[in-house]
């Protein structure tokens, strides 16, 4: 392979696919506005599968060629122009998120579907537009080649995610949405200060160009710190997680699934871009340990609070807080002896954790939504008989839990295995203890829910509605994806390292 640090700054063949991945969702949103709410679902049902198809082509392309796809917008090269780049991380995340979003779309057909001859309703119209907007914004987060494009992408993501929280317009969801928006605004403005400072120091925000110039100096450190705190607020990393549980638990089931599985991964991805790609040598041992400590605190705090929840959706939301913690354990584990963040096993493990959490958590929120629809409540203590009424749903919920706990052959198992391996290899046994304790906590709250759900009910269950089979199937399909994700170890797991600027380097730059 040629020197991986020097990416060819020219549009590669098939680079136009990257533009399509951003333009298609935007076109879908605009077309929905023009044609009106009754067509929004039809447009989404055409575009979302084509988005999955597109992501698969990009994935196959990157995997086979072993090089990132690049598109230089308008043939204006960075630093003046904007580059779109799809490396291994982008391609893998794009496919994973497209799968989750398609499954959510199938699930949402029951709640937000357009019946023939019905009048245009506000909630379905908003839902389909927001779903397409989230898909487009996520693609932009994955493909954006400079820090300002990433700022715009993360803002689009926030603006699409906040209304999803308060789709039903109840007072407490409005409050949750407002709190989420205020946290997100603080995060975005801190990120923006960081970009201003970086541009002031280096006169470029392009990730590749910046990574060559970046030096350890006060302005850079302040910029990186502000950007990181802003992104932590958006990712809901402990202790900036306060907005997440009410927002994710109050939203409609399909929206909760997207918010918990997809949206928080966007800002996390930018944290990875910032520290692994832009400034791999700047985090240092102390910073990496701090990231890991925050992650560990999130695991312990989120799990303990999840164990005390009375309601299923809040339990799942606090479990998200805990699982986000695992994502940040990869930072101390990816640090090599020269204090450089290396794209090795720890990075692969962390990204696999993000993907397996996305699929598992979406399945669990869908299952919780079906349980709520059927029983009319989601009080954990009164779930008795649910397993008899909804066997497929409870099975999907349990499989999602298997992946969260990290039992083989699930994606969660492979992710935690890679992280544990890195912990042993780098001699940082304390992170291994945190991971194992987190697994125990997770099994604890999964056991509480499942033992309640399989218990016989004291009185005959009054089922409010019969949920459609395809909704249960969508949840089960995602849970199975998460369970079988561990098998990628036999296949394309190496794609995550394609195009890593630092993976070929030996020693400090």
């Amino acid at each position: 392979m040629p020197d991986a640090n020097v990416l060819p700054d020219a549009t590669t063949t098939d680079g136009a696919l990257l533009v399509l991945a951003i333009v298609l969702p935007a076109a879908g949103v605009l077309l929905s506005f023009v044609l009106g709410g009754r067509y929004a679902e039809r447009i989404a049902s055409v575009l979302l599968p084509s988005g999955l198809f597109l992501a698969t082509i990009i994935f196959a392309d990157v995997w086979q060629s072993g090089h990132p796809l690049i598109y230089i917008v308008g043939d204006w090269k960075p630093p003046l122009g904007i580059a779109l780049r799809a490396d291994g991380l982008s391609a893998a995340m794009m496919v994973a998120m497209a799968i989750v979003i398609c499954a959510v779309a199938i699930f949402a057909h029951a709640d937000f579907g357009t019946r023939p001859g019905s009048v245009e309703a506000r909630a379905p119209f908003a839902f389909w537009i927001l779903l397409m907007a989230i898909w487009g914004a996520m693609n932009m987060v994955f493909l954006g080649g400079d820090l300002f494009t990433l700022y715009v992408a993360i803002e689009l993501l926030t603006f699409a995610a906040v209304p999803l929280v308060c789709l039903d317009g109840r007072a407490e969801t409005l409050q949750a949405a407002l709190r989420y928006l205020l946290f997100a605004l603080l995060g975005s403005i801190l990120y923006l200060v960081g970009t201003a400072l970086l541009y002031g120091s280096y006169a470029t925000l392009d990730i590749v160009l910046l990574s060559r110039q970046v030096r350890m100096e006060p302005a850079t450190l302040v910029a990186a710190t502000l950007m990181t705190i802003g992104l932590f607020a958006k990712t809901a990393l402990f202790p900036l997680h306060l907005w997440l549980p009410p927002a994710h638990a109050g939203a409609p089931a399909a929206a909760s699934a997207v918010l918990s599985a997809v949206v928080v991964k966007g800002s996390f991805f930018i944290v990875v871009r910032l520290w692994f790609d832009v400034m791999p040598g700047m985090l240092g041992a102390a910073g990496a340990q701090l990231f890991g400590a925050l992650g560990a605190a999130a695991i312990v705090f989120g799990s303990v609070v999840a164990l005390q929840q009375q309601r299923l959706k809040l339990l799942i939301a606090y479990s998200t807080v805990a699982q986000i913690g695992y994502l940040f354990l990869m930072f101390p584990l990816a640090l090599d002896t020269a204090a450089q963040l290396q794209g090795g096993g720890a990075l692969t493990g962390g990204m696999l954790q993000a993907i397996s959490h996305a699929t598992a958590k979406a399945a669990m929120f869908m299952a919780a939504g079906l349980i709520y629809a059927t029983l009319g409540h989601d009080r954990i203590a009164e779930l008795g008989g649910a397993a008899r009424a909804l066997p497929m749903t409870i099975f999907a919920f349990a499989l999602g839990g298997v992946s969260l706990i990290g039992l083989p052959p699930s994606g969660g198992f492979l992710a935690k295995w890679l992280l544990l391996e890195a912990a042993v290899a780098t001699g940082q046994w304390w992170w291994a203890i945190v991971m194992l304790a987190g697994g125990l906590f997770t099994s604890g709250y999964m056991f509480i829910v499942l033992s309640s759900a399989v218990a016989p009910s004291s009185e005959p269950l009054k089922l409010r509605v019969a949920v459609p089979r395809y909704q249960e199937a969508a949840a089960l399909a995602l849970a199975l994806t998460s369970l079988l994700l561990g098998l990628v170890a036999l296949g394309p797991v190496d794609i995550l390292l394609v195009g890593r600027p630092d993976s070929m380097m030996v020693g400090p730059r």
Binding site: Y151, E155, P163, A171, L178, L182, S188, G200, P252, A368
Partner: protein, 113 residues
């Protein structure tokens, strides 16, 4: 003291005031106003960056100017959305606070299908 330094310090002061207001004020509307103050400070910093990076004979580097226009649009949209949420919350509950003892409480069903 050059003009760029002066404006830079003004920007830094605005960022400080805005951040303080955003963190300490409990009222959503005041938080939104503080966010705008904070935003103005950041935009001013962008202006300073543009002036400092200018080649001789030019008024400013155009790239930060393009960025700051985008950022202003984003901040405007964010403010509009936040105000809309506050208004809707006021219509629903008669109050617009973020305190947890507010509407719905913990007794009503929080989950939804």
């Amino acid at each position: 003291m050059t003009a760029a330094t002066l404006f830079g310090l003004c920007g830094a002061a605005l960022v400080g005031f805005g951040l303080y207001g955003l963190v300490t004020n409990p009222e959503p509307l005041r938080k939104i106003l503080a966010f705008n103050l904070l935003g103005s400070g950041v935009f001013l910093v962008f202006g300073v960056v543009s002036r400092r990076a200018a080649a001789s004979g030019l008024g400013g580097d155009p790239v930060p100017q393009a960025m700051v226009i985008t950022a202003i649009v984003v901040a405007f949209a964010a403010t509009a959305m936040a105000i809309a949420l506050v208004l809707r919350l006021l219509q629903e509950t008669g109050r617009s606070t973020l305190s947890a003892d507010n509407p719905g409480g913990t007794d009503t069903d929080r989950g939804n299908s």
